[in-house]
């Protein structure tokens, strides 16, 4: 399976990296920039996963390791089963 997992801060959580980029872009003359939020993503390649269990498997990776559920949300995208 090939998949992508997107992890991002929940909307109400302060994002200092995004804020810094916002200001830096402004300073560089891009005054149209209103807001920037930063997130991360992971491209995952696995061997065979039981058919129909792709999303469940990826959710397990998120719960056990990739996502801090207190402050982060995630979205998964299966590219190739």
């Amino acid at each position: 399976m090939k998949a992508r997992i997107y992890v991002f801060l929940k909307p109400k959580v302060l994002d200092p990296q995004g804020k810094a980029i916002e200001k830096a872009l402004s300073t560089l003359g891009f005054e149209e920039v209103k807001s920037v939020r930063a997130g991360k993503f992971f491209e995952v390649e696995t061997g065979d996963v039981p058919p129909g269990k792709e999303e469940e498997t990826l959710r397990e990776y998120c719960r056990k390791l990739l996502v801090n559920a207190v402050i982060e949300d995630y979205r998964i995208e299966v590219i190739e089963k």
Copy 2:
């Protein structure tokens, strides 16, 4: 305009974060995991951008600030003009 910018390491560049996650998932019992590559993304919201210049504007953000062209590539996605 609303847009997303995805920034990722070029395929031949070593990705220590991805490698660490790969090993951690294995250690947690997810032995099907073959490879993990880590990247980042930015959700950008701007005021009005001249029509037709959306992609060009985002490319400028990348070139001037967000992307290190020596080791990184990027992909842009305009969500709302």
